[in-house]
Amino acid sequence: MAVTDPPKIVTARMGHPDSHTLERYLATGGYDGLRKALTMTPEGVAAEVDAASLLGRGGAGFPAGRKWSMLRKNPVTYLVVNGDESEPATFKDHLLVERDPHQLIEGVVIAAYALQVSQVFIFLRGEFALGLERVQSALNDAYSHGAVGRDIFGSGFSVDVVLHPGAGAYICGEETALIESLEGKRGFPRIKPPFFPAAIGLYGDPTVVNNVETMSNLPWIITNGGAAFAALGGGRSTGTRLFALAGHVVNPGVFELQMVTTTFNDLINAPVLGGGIPHGRGLKAFIPGGVSAPWFGPDQIDLPLGQDEVAEAGSMLGSGSVVVMDDHTCAVRAAWRITKFFSRESCGQCTPCREGSGWLERIMERIERGQGREEDLDLLLDACDNISPGLSWPPQQTTICVLGPSIPSSITSAITMFRDEFLLHIKEGGCPYD
């Protein structure tokens, strides 16, 4: 099977200029999954999702069906959809909300039915101006169509869905910070335990938080059955997944690919996918799952796109964003840029993250600008160790949320893989790539 073969589960309608409209959606089987779900029991819907073995697409990769079945014992009050996609180089949900908002809404209502909740909040990144407009107008149409609201399709099941724009903070993608923000407070992550959303979530009630892409898979799963989904992919990583490919490739973009059966090499180099690295340059490194993930080198390019497979190799598939760096890339500058992002986006609550991120960023900048000292490398690693003790993967942390331990990944990867490059900056008093 070629990499281009897999069925399109969440991107089937992409390419139609009117893919976001109710008309196009209905014309292509829209809301059939919901109609089917409403004929099933809520337990039956949850069981189908469990059978699909759908892993959460937000980054942590927890099986959605299992999350729900745990909560079925302890009734859930709210379903919250996390659409606060704000990390550099991560843009797969962006596509889903702009191009196929009804698919998201249908998934949301299916999940609400499975969980028997009557109130859903979709928290969308505030900068998604078009996405917000499209999801809101799709919601309005869905209400008119009877797919959302009171007595959906005459089933007796009712749910309200509210769209809530974020206010410009990356940290609100962390589910407990998102909940705080939804409650109208500062986006400060809550301490877990005890504030696991499933136990104490929105307004103190049990809450399920799921990602946009996770929700968007549900109509297909219900229509085609969980087993059909589970037949795709491999191992625990079933189905297809959206990969946001960015950086030094001929053809950056979002690709829906089967998990595990496809490799990073396919994604980056296949002519119909990434199309390889431009200008005939070589691969220096790539980040396999968002900028908080440790980096991989060229020798790991044949790793399959699977959650467990990447984890075993010491990184994570995370949010499915892959950043490619060619051999003209300055590793110091790349790591500095990522550190700068985390420093600006730290919520400021915990000392190690708030102060550590700023310090690391300033050291990285100093090295990049040629003012580094050899002892700075040990200092960087030790300061990183004070945020994430042991610098192991998966990381330990001295902070409330995982933004803290995300900071060291790029720095430790860059130092481990490209120590000589750091030393060259220091020796030459400047960036050798300038």
Partner: protein, 901 residues
């Protein structure tokens, strides 16, 4: 693993507590169910360093300084010990290499952007960041970058300055403002490294409790304007005492340098203030340093006061009083005394009642409640109020009058199970947390209480049947505590007193907390500075034999209260003797007495005015002799709070010039009047109080000196064994910064005492159980007093409510520059419909006519007021006068004509 032990609850009962064992650094220790790990470790003797954790606030776990290693099924993880509860069998390590590295790392992170301007920082020397860096931190910084910079400092209020560079973002201040004070006026702005504390645009930090944020700030980010650069902690000497700015009785550390008071800090005691102070208590104490303090006795000669010796002044007073005595003892009136120590109040009571023979003695200035009523009602403690099922508020705004009682009740209502039923003519600071708020117009309080407990017809302002029914249900739900004070100074206090008595009759199990305001007014009443009372909470009649034996004589009959004393001095009384001599004990009748015109006429009319005062004021214009007195923090002794809690006052300063403590002035004056009271130290006065005041029996100096009595002793002692709870010495130097080494009580009252405390005072016949009269019974149960009749208002008038405001034109506020700016300009509040009728809106002016004065005043719409009821704050300017100009003490309520200009 778990078992039961007992602990004493706020109501004084033993309650079972579930305890269990867990492992702390390899040792087996005990914790209580629900106890935070950091607190359990501290009780077990292990201090875990911390910045954001504060034992009186909810944890947030953000500074990450208190990380400890918890060994669990998934290996060891670093957990914030301030956030997680100890659980049975938990295995906790606080001193592993992993923990030490984390602590070291957090301190290094905290210091990278910290300016390290310790040499010019107020906090230097008592700084938790300094101290914990020394104990747990890295020796040297590896930080070579540019630090974060902010403009420094910026004022966030008149009293508090913020240095953002020093801030470590622990959120103690923001949590205090939100959780404890209930005023979220400060919060974080921005994020990441740029996160900072700020106020909202155009809105300053106006909380009355802002000084607490300075005290609990673990660095020098928040500094108090009055204290900034005033002293270094190591130059300060300190003693523990009680704040007597109001009658709540907060424990404080009084700090001084070179005989100047530099600072008060709140001390955390469970029964009263939990470590908090109001800004008036904290900062008004600075008035003690005023250059204007009275330092020499003065006598009026040729129209002006000239300094004289104490001997000459006392001789002059003795002659003046003896001249007045020629017309009978009731021609002498003694007013004031709420600012004295118990010993000062007792000495003056004995001088007035035992030596001069007058019963016209009143510590309250027409702004309180009848003394017998206060003593006759079953008294509650603050803890009992906070742990009651329901509190009935029949008082003024507690945030304005007794601020820390407000905090305690607010916390009990917000975090606990307390229900609040408010009976008030206007909205107060507790209205927002009250379960039911019932309104009434002046004069209708009796009808409202009658409607509440006896099903009578409610007054016009409280006809909401649902609210009344809710209130009745809440009152029936369990222990009830009634906070009774003066909702309005323009309404006769006996109307409220009668309403309180009606509540006591209808709710026999209810207890009462008197919301009287002046520092030691309850002590003064206990000591007999009230008409018809003698020391020890006994009435003149029941105590007559006992005190005749102790003192030689007592007044023949009941005397007058302040209002009648002033009327008799002004020549208004047709019955009884005219008052020709007025002795004013630490009071300012022109500012304190509700009817300002009467106070002025009385001072004009009295032939001989003696002012015992600490600072100059309007009174001195009328005084024939001025006796300078020492004030709080300048003399030892005891004070009594609203609960009847007696606590030791520490002396930190030497009184200025020749000023004396009040007990000494009374004692020396007695000698000039031909009688030696036998007091040669404050301790001997207390010994006599313990012997003669039946309510204080058993509360000996030895008991008061005991370490376990540091929180005070509630009088009378219970018959059961006295449980002197030992205040646990906190390991946490941050709980109350700088106070852990307070010398608890200052010099003992034993100091300088020649005679043994048990020896009989020479020249005094001491009643004993074996011989002499029987011990008198204390006042209890209902008392009889005249309740004035209130005529219904005519349709053209509005009725006046005069309420207290914390910062007013009182002496102490006026003497402190930082507070003087905070005194509000008075405004007349009125129901918006009544303003509409006049065609006036907020910001406009109306003319007010009373029987005594006409004022033009600014108005503000206040929808919480019933129709035809207007309200204004007492002792601040109101238009071209003050509200006291409008009040006529002869009428039980004040009806005004409100007219458009």
């Amino acid at each position: 693993m778990t078992d039961q032990t007992t602990s004493t609850n706020p109501a004084g009962e033993d309650v079972p507590v579930e305890e269990f064992e867990f492992t702390l650094d390899g040792q087996t220790v005990r914790a209580r169910k629900g106890e935070l790990l950091i607190a359990a470790a501290e009780r077990a003797g292990t201090f875990v360093p911390r910045f954001c954790y504060h034992p009186r606030m909810k944890p947030v776990g953000v500074c990450r300084m208190c990380l400890v290693e918890v060994n669990g099924p998934r290996g060891s993880t670093l957990m914030p010990s301030c956030y997680i509860e100890a659980t049975p069998g938990m295995d906790v390590v606080t001193e592993s290499d992993k923990v030490k590295k984390a602590q070291d790392g957090v301190l290094e992170f905290l210091l990278i952007n910290h300016p390290l301007d310790c040499p010019v920082c107020d906090k230097g020397g008592e700084c938790p960041l300094q101290d914990q860096t020394l104990a747990y931190g890295p020796g040297e910084s590896r930080f070579v970058e540019e630090k974060r910079h902010f403009e420094k400092p910026i004022p966030i209020s008149e009293l508090v300055l913020l240095d953002r560079e020093r801030c470590i973002q622990c959120s103690r201040c923001t949590r205090f403002a939100d959780e404890v004070a209930g005023e979220a006026q400060i919060d974080f702005i921005g994020r990441g490294e740029q996160i900072q504390i700020g106020t909202f645009p155009e809105l300053p930090f106006t909380s009355y409790f802002s000084g607490n944020t300075v005290q609990i700030c673990p660095v020098g980010a928040l500094t108090a304007a009055p204290y900034r650069f005033a002293a270094r902690p190591w130059d300060l000497d300190q003693v523990e005492s009680t704040c007597t700015t109001c009658a709540v009785g907060c424990r404080v550390a009084v700090q001084s340098s070179s005989n100047r008071l530099t600072r008060l800090l709140g001390i955390d005691i469970d029964p009263v203030n939990h470590g908090w102070l109001c800004d008036k208590g904290r900062f008004a104490a600075d008035s003690i340093n005023s250059e204007d303090r009275l330092t020499e006795p003065m006598v009026r000669k040729d129209g002006s006061l000239v300094p004289v010796s104490w001997h000459e002044a006392l001789e002059f007073v003795a002659q003046g009083l003896q001249a007045a005595l020629a017309e009978g003892p009731e021609s002498i009136g003694v007013i004031g005394g709420g600012r004295l120590t118990n010993e000062g109040a007792y000495a003056w009571a004995r001088l007035a009642k035992g030596v001069l023979g007058t019963d016209s003695v009143d510590a309250q200035l027409g702004d309180g409640l009848p003394g017998e009523l206060v003593l006759g009602l079953p008294r509650a403690t603050i803890d009992q109020a906070a742990s009651a099922a329901t509190v009935i508020l029949l008082t003024g705004d507690l945030r304005e009058e007794l601020p820390i009682l407000f905090l305690r009740l607010r916390a009990a209502a917000v975090d606990g199970d307390l229900s609040i039923v408010e009976l008030s003519p206007q909205a107060t600071s507790l209205t927002a947390v009250a379960d039911v708020s019932l309104r009434y117009g002046p004069g209708d309080v009796g009808a409202l209480v009658d409607a509440l407990v006896s099903g009578g017809t409610p007054p016009a302002a409280a006809t909401d049947a649902t609210a009344l029914a809710d209130a009745r249900r809440l009152i029936g739900e369990g222990p009830v505590v009634v906070v009774v004070g003066r909702p309005s100074l323009a309404e006769d206090g006996e109307l409220v007193a009668a309403a309180a008595q009606a509540l006591a009759a209808a709710l026999p199990d209810a207890r009462f907390l008197p919301a009287l305001r002046r520092g030691n007014v309850l002590g003064a009443i206990d000591m007999g500075l009230a008409p018809g009372l003698l020391p020890g909470r006994v009435s003149l009649e029941t105590g007559r034999d006992w005190f005749e034996a102790a003192w030689g004589s007592v007044p023949a009959s009941r005397g007058r209260g302040t209002s009648d004393i002033l009327a008799a001095a002004a020549g208004d009384q047709t019955e009884g003797a005219r008052v020709t001599a007025l002795v004013v004990l630490g009071a300012e009748p022109l500012a304190d007495f509700p009817d300002r015109r009467l106070a002025r006429r009385a001072l004009d009319g009295a032939e001989f005015v003696v002012a015992v005062a600490t600072a100059p004021g309007e009174l001195l214009d009328y005084a024939d002799v001025v006796l300078p007195a020492a004030e709080a923090h300048e003399r030892p002794g005891t004070t009594t709070n609203i609960e009847g809690r007696i606590s030791r006052l520490g002396q930190k300063l030497v009184p200025p010039g020749q000023s004396w403590p009040d007990w000494m002035i009374a004692g020396e004056l007695a000698v000039h009047l031909g009688q030696d009271l036998g007091f040669d130290s404050v301790g001997t006065v207390w010994d006599e109080i313990e012997r003669t005041a039946v309510s204080h029996r058993g509360i000996t100096r030895a008991v008061l000196d005991a370490h376990g009595a540091a929180d005070g002793i509630v009088a009378p002692l219970r018959v059961s064994a006295v449980s002197l709870s030992r205040r646990s010495a906190p390991l946490d130097p941050m709980a109350v910064p700088g106070v852990e080494s307070v010398e608890r009580q200052g010099a003992s009252m034993q100091a300088g005492l020649a005679a043994s405390p048990d020896a009989a005072t020479p020249g005094t016949a001491t009643p004993t159980d074996a011989s002499g009269p029987a011990r008198p019974a204390m006042v209890s149960g209902p008392v009889v007093f005249d309740v004035p009749h209130v005529a219904p208002a005519d349709g053209y008038s509005v009725r006046l409510v005069a309420s207290r405001v914390l910062y007013d034109h009182g002496t102490s506020v006026g003497a402190v520059a930082a507070l003087a700016n905070l005194v509000p300009v008075g405004v007349l509040r009125a129901n918006p419909h009544d303003l509409d009728d006049l065609g006036v809106t907020t910001g406009g002016e109306v003319r007010l006519r009373s029987t005594t004065a006409t004022l033009v005043v600014p108005v503000e719409a206040d929808p919480s007021l019933p129709r035809k009821v207007v309200a204004a704050d007492f002792n601040v300017t109101l238009g071209d006068g003050t509200v006291a100009d409008l009040i006529d003490r002869a009428s039980p309520v004040v009806d005004l004509r409100m007219e458009s200009l």
